[in-house]
Symmetry: none
Subunit: 226 residues, 2 copies
Amino acid sequence: MTKQTILIIEDEKDIRELLVYNLRKDGYAILDSGDGKEGLDMARSKLPDLILLDLMLPGLDGLSVCRELERGANTASIPVIMLTAKGEEMDRVVGLELGADDYMVKPFSVRELLLRIRNILKRHVQAAAGGSLSRHGLSLDPGAHKAAVEGVSIDLTATEFRLLENMLRHAGQVRSREQLLDDVWGYHFEGYARTVDTHMRRLRAKLGAAADLLETVRGVGYRFKD
Amino acid sequence: MTKQTILIIEDEKDIRELLVYNLRKDGYAILDSGDGKEGLDMARSKLPDLILLDLMLPGLDGLSVCRELERGANTASIPVIMLTAKGEEMDRVVGLELGADDYMVKPFSVRELLLRIRNILKRHVQAAAGGSLSRHGLSLDPGAHKAAVEGVSIDLTATEFRLLENMLRHAGQVRSREQLLDDVWGYHFEGYARTVDTHMRRLRAKLGAAADLLETVRGVGYRFKD
DNA sequence: TTTTTTTATGACAGAGTTGTGACGTTTGCA
DNA sequence: TGCAAACGTCACAACTCTGTCATAAAAAAA
């Protein structure tokens, strides 16, 4: 699960910093710009997973940015949440002129914004991602958070599940400890590489006879048997 | 499957156009009226699948329209979402007692409205098709707001019922506390995730022997046994 | 072989999560 | 108005999970 990127286009510094801080804390990678034109360029070059867009902007106003995004083949599908100050006649604007996915009126609840972002991203991700994974008698169902070996279900903790899922999604590929720390634990985790070893051991113990599905690649990392 | 029809009864032109535009984009067939009396007539003659009804209306006010709809044999089962301006003393109970399925306070998020509409329509379709949900000896009848374990009925409060219903509708899937807060409590709930725990406990207590149908998935959320 | 490097294992403490009882507030109702 | 039910919040204890470290084992290199 790679970190998702959110682009914030907002000229008010205080609000931008508030958003950057909270979104970063929530585990997103953040790009930000205080200018409409620059923000649009960033959107086109970085292709973020979601855009928070202020309506009133220097350079190029929010509506125009939105319209331009809609026009680009690569940017049209990026969900946009509009931010507006109270009294900016939002209803008409958002609804009639373009396809923002949602909008929030300032001052808004950060928590509510986070929830909406999560929901919107989830929907977009789910549209892309598939169902359950299985290989060599091991099956994982991420939605149900259930795992089974040869049909016999096994209990995994949250971390173990994420680790095994990541290995399975990259079956046949060697995964370095660093990659695993990034993907499973997250970029922010300043961990000890041996942590991965420990969890591999725990996973192997729980996998029982299927333990050898997790192969050690000495000097490199681990690999899920192809 | 034919397009579902939504009737909008709202006198403010801007809002009406906002709704027409967005709902049409979402794939619904739209009827609209700016007058209470006319709207009621349209409802009776066209029998839409859902009605968005403003509270303050010329001709005939929203509550009266709602009451009339409830009275008609053909219109009583049509779900109604009430729209009210902030400050218009809209007692939820009054509206809900009159048969409104939900209500939203202006200015509202178009996206949220669309979600609610989708949910309500889905529920109505399901209610018409099958009726009650049941699994593993637990049965729920959302229409009647009744629950039973092994045929023995149990009393659930409104929140408990919604929570259990949500779990049951996603049986086998892990539901995070955030998802549950969103779905069961709503976007605007600035709550504490422990609230979910507490309600799970209350549900389990009422479920008695069937308490283990609600499984804890540590570090992730809860899951209704598949 | 011996030495060095890398990985596996066992133990452990602290961090985090959940269940529970209690309490205060709100809401509906008599 | 007062009461009871429903609901959200909180504090706390029990428990699980998880990262870290020391050490053993294994593999590779010398």
